[in-house]
Amino acid sequence: MSRPQSRIGIKLHQHVIEVKSKFEAEYRRFALKRNSHGGFQEFYHLLQSLHLIPGVEVLLGYADIHGDLLPINNDDNFHKAVSSANPLLRIIITKKEDEPEVFGTNSLQRRKKGLGLTGLRTATIGSTHSRHKPSLLIGQPQDFRQISSIIDVDILPESHRRVRLHKHGTHKPLGFYIRDGVSVRVTPQGVEKVPGVFISRLVRGGLAETTGLLGVNDEILEVNGIDVVGKSLDQVTDMMVANSHNLIVTVKPSNQRNNVTHRVTKSSGSVGSAGSSGSARDSPSPAAQSNPITASNSIAEGDSEDEEDDCDLIMENDSLLTHQVINSNLRDSHDLRPLPQSISLPNSMAASMISNHNGNSEESLREDGNIISL
């Protein structure tokens, strides 16, 4: 596809969204006017009729730009879903009595890779129901996205806490500072003062503060499983920054009163979810200005170590346009067109042209930390 065509496409899609809904093995594709749609109920019935399943109780979910499967169950999150579609909106419909979809971070990605979720679910996603305890029914998440969790409660001493911070594509900063300090350790030889690293400050509104799991003067013991003993403040800083996409810190909280005790191991998951109070609605969503993720391409927000590889944004330009200095100035100004809101189809040339020559769109595209392999 050549560029002029794609530009026409962009104009068109500013008013129309493409919906691709999936129920079991069936797909439906239809268009929806961006401004003239109704509420959630209307949409729910539209889907039921399109999929020829009137009366069947279903759950709706959509793929947001970070590859997370988020629920649609009220007007608010329906509007959110529509506004983030640009232009494609992927809807996934499941029967209510089926094994529910796992909503939350990385859910699509994991499923796609065929990774078992059972192990992770209890540990990291406390809000989903447990396979082994069908009697304990936990409700569907209501437009929440997991931003933090307490993990490994069963293997850590009670006085320690291992916190996982999920830095999604949100613009919310991790938001904490660390400092050097002195830690008192009890050894067989008596009480010993050793250098340690402590949280010195939480940024207001930052991820660390909103989780409520980290506090000022908490001692940092491990970063992503690596002991920080003997490491300088700068080293610990660099380790944390290097792991910032999936930061797991083991702390010794200065306030030891809220510790998880081993007797309530079963409910450890809900402790995690209790802390996860950040809602996607609160955080400024980059969705409105970002490029879409086309269905045919993988949606990846790799936050686990194994998947981080896939996060590098790789753009390949196979159409090999001549790029000469003589006319590059001209071309660049030409390409600095208003933000291309969308690209309807994976088109290597168009995508790379935009990313190569258009500073603004390139930025928004990168900040989301998505992968586009074209």
């Binding site: 500072y177 490491k231 080293q235 920054v241 100004s333 930025e363």
Partner: protein, 953 residues
């Protein structure tokens, strides 16, 4: 069974690692930082330099070097060789004496400390009683005379440091015999100087601070003569015939006294204030040397008129009617003259920043080029570049160009010739290039133990600078008094910091050189054996590509000379690119086969065709919101930072050094400090909004498969601070049309690393997993041509991790994380080849990595596995880490001070280290003689110690 096999495999790899890798710090090149003492042994022909950090370094013939380090963290204040022995004594400023020897071991000599000693006074005595102020190593080789602040002289037998209490010369003994009319008899003050009579070792002169000198007979233990000088004493010299004593004083005067005269009042034969009339500074050391049938040489340091030239560092040499005040650029530590058969041949002067040797036998007293102890920092080093295995042809041409520059040096051979250099000839010719703040590039022969200057390239001539005007200001005018003559090359003052060299790349096969500097200038130079007058064509490149709405607040572009400039033989510039904005060049590479130069700054990068002299490509990498980079305070910030850092380094290095045994204390201090002032660090993921994400960190040319797996094409790769890699496919016209048809470049790929850490290195690995060879390497049959059948891989090295991607379709294949695991970050990276020590034919390529923690890692290729790691540099030594360069054969250099490179080796096969032998002097006549004073023969050559026992500074 399986487990056993696996185990066997691992040990095999471990054994292989031992055969390939080994870490050694081999030799220190350059000039010792903060020298504090100088010693010389005429019998060994070795000179010794002590430093304020407690190091002692011995130098003889080129290649003969020894180094020792005192355990104490104290400055070396005096160094004295024991006459006719291989021992030497050092005095530290903590008042301890140390005995060192050169001991033979497996056919080589080693410098070893064999004893230490601190004077103990009578109980209850104040510390000044035993505070050593002067040392005389007696010509018997068995005695040390130690003069103290309290005015006593202690006699100690060496090498065992046994105090001979009965022989001590107490202040009372001397004071009792002082004539009644002597003005200062109530307080003689400290012992300033001890000198032995060159013809009678039983006689020593004791010089007291107040001015009094006493000739003392060691055998009879009584004063023989008193010399009642009344000015504060600075130094004493006993002439070679033993007939005169010359004393120098704090008022800038010197006096000559006859020895053995009965009437004291007639003793003073001659007194003079050489730069007199107005008050003068002290003459800190004076020496008179006889010549055969001619007037003697008189040498003294200091004595300048206080008001007008009090800040000069001068040594005056007077011989007959010739009178020159050698004017040094830094403080004089000490000087001596090397042993010669008859007339004095040379004068060796140690000043704070260099060693200068003056040829006293050639008309005009030219300077002799030193083969070692070169002040690398004559202007501050701003970057370095190493090239291994230089072809002989290029080597000879550089030497020839250099020879034309060094014509003002003396032709006399190096006068210090002690010891034998037993090191094998270096396996290859290696060049180390250092770029300096004043726009100079120095070429050093780094093949062996001596870092020898080969050629000096100045790039300042291309530009108009302020220095043009006052070029002749410093020249001495006729009839000037004192008759100054500037000597030495240490000149830390840069006329224009924009001239500073930041990046260097030399192609050893074609002789093309490119250097880039602080003001965005990129020069392309070609080696020419003849001087030539030519205009340098300048091309301004706008890296912002029309981005508007900002003002560059940094320095301006350099002003290019438009008229033809005469360039001497050597590397002559023929093309110049000037970046706009003129930010410091941060990456540079040259491909001599394609005749292309790629350069990058904090704003973007460009590709320049130096055959057609035009630009092929400009790419702006700047994030438009990055105001810091836009406005460009980078250079200013950097220079302030740098100067601050250096001054801190200076303070830190002065006394507190960082030897291992002090770590505990340091850690404790650190702990205490922490409690006082907590330092905070922000934890935040990197984002594209960070400053300087567009700064180009690395540029790389590769002939590889960029777009499809069947056709390899030339390509250019660029990596930025923001973790972005750009790949451009280059289309070069066929060779016959290379001059006319344009070279084109178009972007083929862009990779944004998710972790956004700065990209510090890019390497393409061929089908065998070996790094691609350098341009022209294959053409010269010096490298195996790369495997173009298998699939190539791209290795991207960021500060945080190593990552291998497939080519031509870029997808991640494997990676090695560094920062996430141990918190260290890559600072320097290089590809090196490691040969096995066991078999000639086995070797591996590997990545050599230096981290911000100062650790060296070797990472295997192509599987990027950690092999070994060694601690190398202290992590606080930021400039040391930043200065590190690697060679292609597993060696490296880094600055341990502004003036010294430490050389290290990670390879078992390539090791450049001093291997030398010093024989004990043959005159071992007094080996078994009991320590007595009577039996010595006056015919002995006893000048050895003469210059050593007056450490005036």
């Amino acid at each position: 069974m399986k487990r056993f096999r696996r185990h066997g495999h691992e040990t095999q790899r471990d054994r292989l690692k031992q055969e390939l890798y080994q870490f050694n710090k081999t030799v220190e090149h350059g000039f010792p930082h903060q020298p504090s003492a100088l010693g010389y042994s005429p019998s060994l022909q070795l000179l010794a330099i002590g430093t304020r950090s407690g190091a002692i370094k011995l130098y003889g013939a080129p290649g003969v070097e020894f180094m020792g380090l005192h355990d104490e963290n104290a400055a070396v204040t005096q160094v004295h060789f024991m006459p006719h022995q291989v021992e030497l004594v050092t005095l530290l400023d903590d008042n301890s004496l140390h005995m060192w020897t050169l001991r033979g071991h497996k056919g080589l000599s080693e410098l070893l400390e064999i004893g230490r000693f601190t004077l103990t006074g009578p109980p209850g005595a104040p510390p000044s009683v035993t505070r050593v102020t002067s040392v005389l190593a007696h010509s018997s080789g068995e005695l040390l005379l130690l003069g103290t602040e309290g005015g006593h002289v202690f006699i100690v037998e060496v090498p065992g440091f046994r105090e001979l209490e009965e022989r001590n010369i107490s202040l009372d003994q001397v004071a009792n015999s002082v004539p009644e009319d002597y003005i200062g008899r109530r307080n003689l003050e400290h012992v300033e100087s001890l000198q032995e009579n060159p013809v009678n070792p039983n006689q020593v002169v004791l010089g007291y601070g107040r001015g009094l000198m006493v000739i003392w007979d060691l055998e009879k233990q009584c004063a023989m003569q008193h010399i009642p000088a009344t000015q504060q004493l600075e130094s004493v010299w006993w002439t070679e015939d033993g007939e005169y004593i010359i004393s120098s004083h704090s008022d800038g005067s010197y006096c000559r006294w006859m020895v053995g005269g009965e009437d004291m009042n007639d003793d003073e034969e001659k007194s003079d204030i050489p730069y007199g009339h107005f008050p003068c500074k002290a003459i800190s050391k004076i020496v008179q040397l006889p010549t055969e049938g001619g007037p003697p040489f008189l040498l003294f340091s200091g004595g300048m008129p206080r008001a007008s030239y009090g800040d000069r560092h001068c040594i005056t040499v007077i011989h007959g009617k010739t009178h020159v005040a050698l004017d040094f650029t830094s403080r004089i530590i000490d000087f001596f003259y090397p042993a010669a058969h008859k007339d004095p041949s040379a004068l060796v002067v140690l000043v704070e920043e260099e060693l200068v040797v003056i040829d006293l036998q050639t008309e005009g007293w030219p300077v002799i080029q030193t083969p070692y102890l070169i002040p690398l920092h004559s202007s501050a080093i701003t970057c370095s570049h190493h090239i291994s295995a230089i072809p002989l042809k290029l080597w000879e041409r550089i030497i020839a160009a250099g020879a034309m520059q060094y014509t003002h040096y003396s032709k006399k051979p190096w006068p210090i010739t002690g010891g034998q250099n037993l090191a094998p000839d270096p396996p290859q010719r290696d060049l180390l290039l250092t770029g300096h703040e004043d726009g100079i590039v120095n070429f050093w022969d780094a093949s062996g133990v001596c870092l020898y200057p080969m050629y000096k390239l100045s790039t300042a001539g291309v530009f108009h600078t302020d220095s043009d005007l006052n070029d002749n200001m410093n020249q001495g005018t006729e009839g000037e008094w004192p008759p100054f003559r500037k000597v030495g090359c240490f000149d830390p003052y840069s006329d224009d910091p924009r001239l500073g060299i930041q990046k260097i790349h030399l192609c050893k096969y074609s002789g093309y050189l490119t250097v880039a500097g602080t003001a965005g200038q990129i020069l392309v130079l070609e080696l020419n054996d003849e001087a030539a007058e030519q205009t340098v064509e300048a091309k301004v490149v706008d890296l912002l590509q029309g981005q508007e709405g900002f003002r560059w607040k940094g320095h301006t572009r350099l002003d290019v000379r438009e008229e033809p400039v005469l360039f001497p033989a050597g590397f002559q510039p023929f093309a110049l690119v000037q970046c706009q904005p003129p930010a410091v060049v941060t990456a540079l590479t040259l491909h001599s086969e394609w005749k292309l130069v790629a350069f990058g700054t904090s704003h973007g990068f460009g590709l320049y065709d130096y055959q057609q002299r035009n630009n092929v490509l400009i790419k702006c990498t700047l994030n438009p919101t990055d105001q810091v980079a836009l406005e460009g305070p980078l250079s200013r910030v950097k220079s302030i930072k740098k100067s601050l850092r250096q001054s801190f380094r200076r303070i830190r290095r002065s006394r507190v050094s960082l030897r291992k045994h002090h770590v505990n204390n340091a850690a404790k201090a650190e702990l205490a400090e922490m409690e006082l002032a907590p330092v905070q660090r922000k934890i935040e993921a990197r984002s594209s909004d960070d400053s300087f994400t567009g700064l180009v960190r690395t540029l790389y040319f590769a002939d590889t498969f960029l777009t499809d797996s069947s056709h390899n094409t030339p390509s250019l790769w660029a990596g930025t601070n923001g973790g972005c890699v750009f790949a451009y496919m280059l289309r070069l016209p066929p060779a016959e049309h290379r001059a006319e048809e344009p070279v084109t470049a178009h972007q083929a790929k862009e990779i944004q690393l998710m972790h956004r850490a700065p990209v510090v290195g890019i390497v393409v690995l061929d089908g065998h997993g070996a790094p691609l060879p350098e341009p022209l390497e294959v053409a010269h049959d010096l490298a195996r041509s790369p495997d173009m059948h298998g699939s190539h891989h791209l290795l991207v090295i960021s500060e945080e991790q190593f990552k291998v991607f497939t080519l031509p379709k870029v997808s991640a294949k494997m990676k090695l994380k560094l920062t996430a695991i141990d918190g260290s970050r890559v600072r320097r990276v290089g590809v090196a080849w490691f040969g096995s020590s066991r078999t000639e034919d086995y070797g591996e390529s590997g990545l050599v990595v230096l981290t911000n923690q100062g650790d060296l890692h070797i990472v295997s290729l192509p599987h990027i596995k950690m092999q070994v790691h060694y601690p190398c540099i202290r992590r606080e030594d930021v400039s040391g880490i930043a200065s590190c360069v690697f060679t292609k054969y597993g060696q490296g250099f880094y600055l341990i001070s502004p003036s010294e490179f430490e050389r290290f080796s990670l390879s078992t096969r390539y090791l450049v280290e001093p291997r030398c032998l010093v024989d004990a002097p043959r005159q071992s006549f007094n080996q078994h003689r009991p320590p007595s004073f009577g039996a010595s023969s006056p015919q002995r050559r006893v000048m050895e110690h003469a210059l050593l026992n007056d450490e005036s500074e």
